[in-house]
């Protein structure tokens, strides 16, 4: 039994290690790879249960890939599984960035590197602005709810309020919103 758990823990580690080492483009790109490994290949979790699990993990704060690894690992092999899957997901990142950061900080001041990054910086700004606008579009914001992103931007960018405080306020507001929706849904259920 013990050996069995250790073997599964090792498989979890290597599965998430591969995903961590080879997926570019963040958490959501990783999802199909996790599904392929966990549902199709290893058949650790049935597909419907996997997507239920992802729905819960998606609503949690923190690193999406880490949350997924922890949840899948815990489900399959308990605390050891969770630890193994999480370490697998983050170790490639840590190693690669440590190597790059050491090199980059050494050669950052070279004129060639500086020239390249002078071109890259405005591109990074665009790469941040574009998804936020796409998100506003997908959140189906109307004239009434448009105040939320506008107020958020004004508070953080213009008034320099700490984003932590803005998020806490937004959580409080959303919690009220979620509870109201829940109550409405309940009323509908009661009525014939």
């Amino acid at each position: 039994m013990y050996f069995c758990i250790m073997k599964i823990a090792w498989q979890l580690f290597s599965t998430f290690f591969k995903i961590g080492a080879f997926t570019l483009g963040g958490g959501y790109a990783m999802l199909s790879m996790v599904e392929k490994a966990v549902v199709d290949k290893k058949q650790w979790i049935p597909a419907d249960e996997f997507w239920d699990l992802i729905a819960i993990v998606q609503s949690l704060p923190g690193v999406f890939a880490v949350n997924t690894a922890l949840y899948v690992g815990q489900k399959i092999a308990g605390r050891k599984g969770a630890a193994a899957a999480m370490l697998g997901a983050i170790i490639p990142s840590i190693v690669i960035i440590l190597l790059l950061a050491t090199i980059f900080r050494e050669y950052r001041d070279l004129p060639v590197v500086e020239r390249i990054f002078k071109g890259i910086r405005p591109c990074v700004v665009a790469l941040i602005l574009a998804p936020s606008l796409r998100m506003i579009k997908s959140a189906k914001i109307n004239w009434k709810t448009a105040i939320i992103p506008i107020a958020t931007v004004a508070l953080i960018w213009w008034l320099k309020v700490s984003p932590a405080i803005v998020i806490l306020a937004a959580i409080a507001g959303s919690l009220i919103y979620a509870l109201v929706i829940q109550k409405k849904a309940k009323k509908k259920e009661v009525q014939p």
């Binding site: 483009g25 958490g27 999480m86 020239r115 932590a164 806490l168």
Partner: protein
Amino acid sequence: MIYLQLLWVFIKIGVLGFGGGYAMLSLIQHEVVDHYAWMSTTEFADMVAISQMTPGPISINMATYVGYTAGGIGGSLLASFALCLPSIIMVYLIIKLLTNKKSGMLMTNLLKGLKPAIAGLIFAAGLSMMNAQNFVQIGKGENNISIVICVLAFVASYFFKANPILLILLSGAVGFFVY
């Protein structure tokens, strides 16, 4: 001291970071550039580019980079671990406690309500980086390539969903030939 600061900063980001890596940008920027001044606004932009281009979760990449800049290898391990710590506790509790559908629904609705604020948060992070340090010779009229790169990259990303890594490589090439 620096280790305690890193621990506190990244635990906070792990707790409040709803909506993925980009949503954490604003939090990281506020702490790392404005509050503790561990790196300049240009190095922050460079770090985002590097984190985007390398495999793995972008927020773990950024935590490792920030931790390394502020406190060496120990700092990088600590920052990444601190970012994961709230997740470890939360996921464990959720499996133990919230197994019914109702509480899952509440979390999903909570996130739906948060979405417009998260979008604003990401937009604010982008705006804060739109400054004279990241945009070479802004407004001087002689060389406004920075603005051209930004607008073109925005159009390519927003309307055509172009691959971000490709865009970073292309603008790096433009920088190499123009400056």
